[in-house]
Symmetry: C2
Subunit: 200 residues, 2 copies
């Protein structure tokens, strides 16, 4: 799970990459269709043809990220619950985090803050949360069933982990502090070690 | 620890109450000095006399909240660590949360998202985080020392709790879901029960 899935292989993916770059560069408040167009190598008019406004383009960007995330999760083998959890956490809360990674997560956190005002953002973030929590819960359930994890309640533990991750990111991006990501990731690893992995 | 400390007893407090009301009503993006003035019973020109712009007024509002929080924390007796922790959590993450409480926390979360762009906000939120984490760590330390809590590392546990709270609030206010506050508060109570209070 990387922030950006690799070389774009279609015009839509090129638009999405331009959007990603604009968000990293300008944050959500500073991103406009014009600034996305500035990052787009093909004809700018294509962007305006496909999207009426910034919100429509960014909603499609969120949809695209979710499709990528789902495809990636489906490609993952089912047999190593701990590796599956670590993979999700490394995608959300990589330690150490680089500057681009922090900027991208700031833009996402800012976009999430707009969810109360844009129903399409709300829909995508609610889905995103659901996909992540379900993946975590599924991995935890497998680990509990195969006896490698403690006997926890999978959905509750998944929810705890996910809420913690959202808090770690919101704190780090708003205080512009990459060390907070590293420190919180360490706390999360300790939590999982004692709550989940350690069989007592 | 309530959202609003009670009847205003000075002109400054009346300005702060007007700010609180405007934030609850319009959110951070929709709050302007004019809208704060609309909530202010005295002469509007007083507001413009004291504050150059929205950012200056809101920075003072954050300062005011922090002073209130500090005064409140100092007034609390030192002898019941568990009650001290519960008091902080009930202030941050009250369950059940009412509509005004959720709106106010949304405005605060939106203002926090502006911290990378306004150094005065950054300063106040960094202090706010520090005050809350220090209070939690102090209470945890006392409980560990008097033998009522497990032998945890107080600053690490305080940080885990605080990060979780920030995540719970950011998720709930952005998805406009008061039930998320209640669910996450329950998960946090379970965490404290097993990590901290339960002496095994």
């Amino acid at each position: 799970m990387t922030d950006w899935p690799g070389e774009p292989s279609s015009t839509r993916e090129e638009m999405m990459l331009a959007t990603y770059r604009a968000l990293c560069e300008h944050g959500y408040p500073g991103t406009s269709i014009q600034r996305i167009a500035d990052e787009f190598d093909k004809s700018k008019s294509l962007l305006y043809y496909h999207y009426d406004d910034k919100e429509a383009l960014l909603a499609d960007f969120l949809r695209f990220l979710l499709e990528e995330l789902r495809a990636e999760l489906e490609a993952v083998p089912d047999d190593e619950p701990r590796a599956a959890i670590e993979r999700v956490l490394e995608g959300l809360l990589p330690a150490p985090i680089d500057d681009e990674g922090l900027r991208f997560r700031r833009a996402m956190s800012e976009m999430r803050s707009q969810a109360p005002y844009h129903v399409v953002y709300h829909e995508q973030f609610a889905r995103f949360d659901e996909v992540i929590r379900a993946e975590l819960a599924r991995a935890i359930k497998r680990g509990v069933e195969d006896g490698t994890f403690r006997e926890v309640e999978p959905t509750a533990t998944a929810e705890h982990v996910f809420t913690f991750v959202v808090g770690a990111l919101h704190r780090a991006v708003t205080l512009d502090d990459p060390d907070l990501v590293a420190r919180d990731r360490e706390l999360l690893d300790e939590y999982l070690e004692s709550e989940l992995y350690d069989e007592g």
